[in-house]
Every structure is written in structure tokens, then in C-alpha cells.
């Protein structure tokens, strides 16, 4: 009864209903990185009722995180982000399971972190880790929702392995990164929300995932531009798995 009351406003959505809510409850999502993007995405996934959320981040909260990382408070400075985020998410929704893992994602632990999850949400802040996650998700057939931000801009692209272009089709190798990336607070909020929305759509099989294109959000003009992306014939990752699929 309590869950029917909690999710009442979304259960009322035509085509979602109790069946859709149960799909959310049965789903398992990995949010990799709980900063500006992942923190917001995790909050909405928890509020929406995703039954199991694994959050992975090795970072400790700093004052300069608080312009955009809204799950946290000043009292959390100095704490592990996953520990503070798990508390916040559990206080938002105690009917779901949060699994905090205070690790940086690497080629050594990625198999364990991706174990038994239905999809992965990108809350990372560098392309080395993003491409590692992309490659493994394509290999294992796990949908990956990519998001990124810079200044007043945001990006989003959903990858369905075996069906759509992957992140490496767009970014073949990690670009040289700026040491500190400038970001205005609300922009990761916009993109993190959209990542959570994509996850909910995939889990409930509603609508159409944002694949085969990249969303470019320009906060200065408030324009959302959708740019078509094709599978790169030279992509070393998805060409390998597409070929396997054709065999």
C-alpha cells in the first residue's frame, strides 16, 4: 500500500501503471560517478522507484562540488561521496536498495561492478573511464546512457549494444583533458535528469531511447540540438561485436 501511495502520480500515467512500476522495482542500475550528473540521476532513479541502485565513486566531497552536486550538504564535506549519497538516497526512498561502492572504476574491477545490472548511467568526468565502461557495456550487451557537461553545455547519448553506435564511434580515443572542467551548476542537473529519464524509458519499455544521435544542450540559448551519429566502420569495439552478431 505504501508503495502504491508513493508512486501514485506515475502509476496513473497511461501505459505505465502498476506493471511499469513493478519493472522499475525489479530493475538494477549502476550509476558510475555520483557527482553533478550521477548524483542527480541517482536521486531521480531512487525517487522513481528503481529497486536496486549501485553507486560507484572513490571521491571525497569538497566545497567546490557543491555548486552542482545537489545530493550533498556542507556537513558532508570530507566524507566519501558514495557514503553520503547512500544516506541521502535511502532517506529519499527506504523501499529500495542502495549499494555504495567507494572505488574508482578500472579494468580490474569493472566486471564485478557491472555484474547483474540492467543498465549503466554515466556520471563520470573523464573519457578514459567512459570508454572503459562503453567498451565493457558493448561486450556484455548492457545499455549505457552517456552524459557529459562543459560550461553551459551538456551532451547525452544512449547506447544499446548490438543495435546502435557506441561512444567510441563518436570519440575513438580519450581526448586530452583540461585539468579542471568549468561547469555551471544547473547544466549537470538538466543532463542528469535526462539520463534518469532515459533509464526509466528503457526499463519500462516506453517511448524511444535517444540512440543514433547525440543531444547537444546549449544552456546559453536554451536550445536542444540533436545530431545524427552513425556507427563508425572503423570502431574497434562495436564492429567486433556487430560482426559476432552476424556470425
Amino acid at each position: 500500500m505504501r508503495e502504491l501511495e508513493r508512486y501514485d502520480r506515475q502509476i496513473r500515467i497511461m501505459d505505465l501503471g502498476v506493471d511499469g512500476q513493478l519493472k522499475l522495482k525489479d530493475s538494477r542500475v549502476l550509476v558510475v560517478g555520483v557527482g553533478g550528473l550521477g548524483g542527480v540521476a541517482a536521486m531521480y532513479l531512487a525517487a522513481t522507484g528503481v529497486g536496486f541502485i549501485r553507486i560507484v565513486d572513490s571521491g571525497v566531497l569538497e566545497l567546490n562540488n557543491l555548486n552542482r552536486q545537489i545530493p550533498y550538504s556542507e556537513k558532508d564535506i570530507g566524507r566519501l561521496k558514495v557514503e553520503a549519497a547512500a544516506e541521502r538516497l535511502t532517506s529519499l526512498n527506504s523501499d529500495i536498495v542502495i549499494e555504495p561502492i567507494p572505488q574508482m572504476i578500472t579494468s580490474e574491477n569493472i566486471d564485478a561492478l557491472l555484474k547483474d545490472v540492467d543498465l549503466v548511467v554515466d556520471g563520470l568526468d573523464n573519457f578514459e573511464a567512459r570508454l572503459l565502461v562503453n567498451d565493457k557495456c558493448v561486450e556484455l550487451g548492457i545499455p549505457f546512457i552517456h552524459g557529459a557537461v562543459y560550461s553551459f553545455e551538456g551532451r547525452l547519448m544512449t547506447i544499446i549494444p548490438g543495435k546502435t553506435p557506441c561512444l567510441r564511434c563518436l570519440v575513438p580515443s580519450p581526448p586530452l583533458s583540461h585539468d579542471i572542467i568549468p561547469v555551471i551548476g544547473p547544466v549537470p542537473g538538466v543532463i542528469g535528469c535526462l539520463e534518469a529519464l532515459e533509464a526509466v524509458k528503457i526499463i519500462t519499455e516506453m517511448g524511444k531511447p535517444f540512440t543514433d544521435k547525440i543531444l547537444v544542450f546549449d544552456g546559453l540559448s536554451l536550445e536542444f540540438t540533436s545530431i545524427p551519429i552513425s556507427r563508425s566502420p572503423n570502431c574497434p569495439i562495436c564492429s567486433k561485436y556487430y560482426l559476432r552478431q552476424l556470425e
Binding site: 563520470l124 573519457f127 557537461v149 562543459y150 560550461s151 553545455e153 580515443s173 568549468p182 545530431i227 552513425s230
Partner: protein, 95 residues
């Protein structure tokens, strides 16, 4: 002829505050000609964001002409026409 160039993120910062400019080119100019023109006009900052040290286009920078990736047209030799919109997109990494 004139083409519109729209740039994002670090390339936008290198060319113009609003990231959208009109560039005059000779007829039958290619994407390579356009990049050369932008390089001359905006100098080192543009080059750093768009070009490798040998002057070739960075693999991580995507170029679209009227919404089509030049990789699937004719690469840097893709010819431009009056009024074409060329979009330059570098990856962004923040999170």
C-alpha cells in the same frame, strides 16, 4: 559564397562568444579550405582545439555539414555550397 559555422564547447570559446559565425569562401571550397580559413583567422587557440600538431583534423572533433558527418561524405574534401551549415563538435568530459 558564405557558409555558417557553428561551434561548441572549447571550439566555441576559440572562435566566438556565441559560437556561430558567417565565413566567406571561394566557390567550390572544401571543409579543409574552411578549416584553413578559420585557422588563419583565429590562430593558435583554434588550432589547439581542432587540429593535431601535423595540421590534420583531431579524431575526437566531429564535423557535420548540414547535419551529416563528413566521415560519411567526402571527409575534409567535402565540397561546400552557399548557405551550408558546418558544425564543429569536440567531446566534453565534465560530470
Amino acid at each position: 559564397m558564405k557558409v555558417v559555422v557553428k561551434a561548441y564547447a572549447t571550439i566555441r570559446e576559440a572562435i566566438d562568444e556565441y559560437g556561430r559565425i558567417m565565413i566567406e569562401l571561394s566557390d567550390h571550397a572544401t571543409v579543409k579550405d574552411l578549416l584553413d580559413t578559420l585557422s588563419r583567422r583565429f590562430g593558435e587557440r583554434f588550432n589547439r582545439e581542432v587540429l593535431e600538431t601535423d595540421g590534420t583534423l583531431k579524431k575526437t572533433v566531429k564535423v557535420f555539414v548540414n547535419g551529416r558527418d563528413i566521415e560519411f561524405i567526402n571527409g575534409l574534401s567535402t565540397e561546400l555550397d552557399e548557405g551550408d551549415e558546418v558544425v564543429l563538435i569536440p567531446p566534453v568530459a565534465g560530470g
